[in-house]
Symmetry: C2
């Protein structure tokens, strides 16, 4: 199998702060994206910048986002307004001996580019399936398929995962040498992760209907 090209270095993917935390590895980018539920989509409007949270999916080197065709921001994206889409995981609080060196362990992907609408009906249906399976793996096998009128009521955009900046911070605090003498000050990391609770059936679900695999199994491996 050919080794995938690393992510390209461009002006806007050059990391200004803490460049040692950056990676150009596509597999690392895919792993971060595949674990996330939510992205934050930013674009410039005549009223200033807007940043909105939304779900997404990934297929190969494309990020898929969707919503109502009436959503102003999504329509702007469909018209070719440049977007920036960011996915971030918080992995832990980093407690140092000084307030200054407090930090956070995180993994982030920042994608820059121009999206385009997915208009072919079969491709659109596949893209929506990919988003559902991304958020709730296994769910498609449990529900009916999309109807044509539902597809018509949905706008789907694809954004190339090409110009992207990937950053990871992990490990403990990096204290000033002198502060290491503060022997009574604890320092370290408080790990954080997303936890899934017990599924709550809707009021109108027949009593005794078992919780299906999609809801019973947390979608991501714990870290």
């Amino acid at each position: 199998m050919p080794v995938p090209r690393p992510l390209p270095v461009t002006e806007r993917t050059t990391i200004g702060r803490s460049p040692e935390r950056g990676t150009r590895d596509r597999a690392a980018m895919h792993a971060i994206l595949d674990e996330g539920l939510l992205c934050h989509v930013g674009l410039a409007t005549e009223h200033g910048p807007v940043v909105l949270p939304t779900t997404y999916g990934r297929r190969g080197d494309e990020l898929l986002i969707h919503g109502s065709p009436a959503a102003t921001w999504l329509r702007a994206g469909a018209r070719g307004t440049p977007v920036c889409v960011t996915v971030t995981h918080v992995d832990g609080l980093v407690l140092a001996r000084s307030p200054f060196h407090h930090s956070m362990n995180y993994r982030s992907v920042v994608v820059f580019g121009v999206a385009e609408p997915v208009t072919d009906p079969a491709e659109k249906a596949a893209a929506l399936d990919a988003i559902v399976e991304h958020v709730v793996p296994g769910r498609l096998a449990e529900v009916r398929g999309n109807r044509d009128d539902e597809l018509a009521k949905t706008l789907v955009l694809r954004l190339p995962l090409e110009e992207a900046s990937v950053k990871v911070r992990s490990g403990g605090p990096i204290d000033d040498e002198a502060d290491l003498e503060l022997l009574d000050v604890w320092a370290g990391v408080v790990p954080m992760r997303i936890a899934h609770g017990t599924p709550v059936p809707a009021d109108d679900v027949p009593a005794g209907l078992p919780v299906p695999p999609s809801a019973a199994t947390p979608r991501r491996p714990g870290r």
Copy 2:
């Protein structure tokens, strides 16, 4: 005590999609912000929009963000480039009988505005303290204070919490009437929350030093 003014209705805080999920209540906005660790800051640049994750703090009706004076995006914010800052919590996956009605329970705050640098030394020190206490409550009592050179190496911006859009989705799936006849399809909510793990001391922490309250106690009440 006077009742606080509701958040103002402006063109960009008018919610286009699902307006019934919106609230103008400042206390609701404060609660969402106080629970969050991370915001996503968006601004327009000559290379297009940028959305970056960062920590923050809140003091009254001001959002505080900070970073290196060398960070391009932060410098742009300090110069008065309009920003949009968004904080989002994912509370659960909403599983409906159709792919179309799948959703997410969430709470989000989208703040629009122009930030300004906090330059007064005492105010700047207080703002940085507020950010540390926001992320790790109780930590300031455990560590040394900021040194002047550390303050000088930090840029702090304040953004008025005035023009903001607050949205909350909660509850179960909203299925099509006809789909309720699919009696063998489970529907409901998989709750999600942030979980804290066991604190991990840094390698150079003396053996036996107890984990302090700031690290031992999860900072936010479970939901």
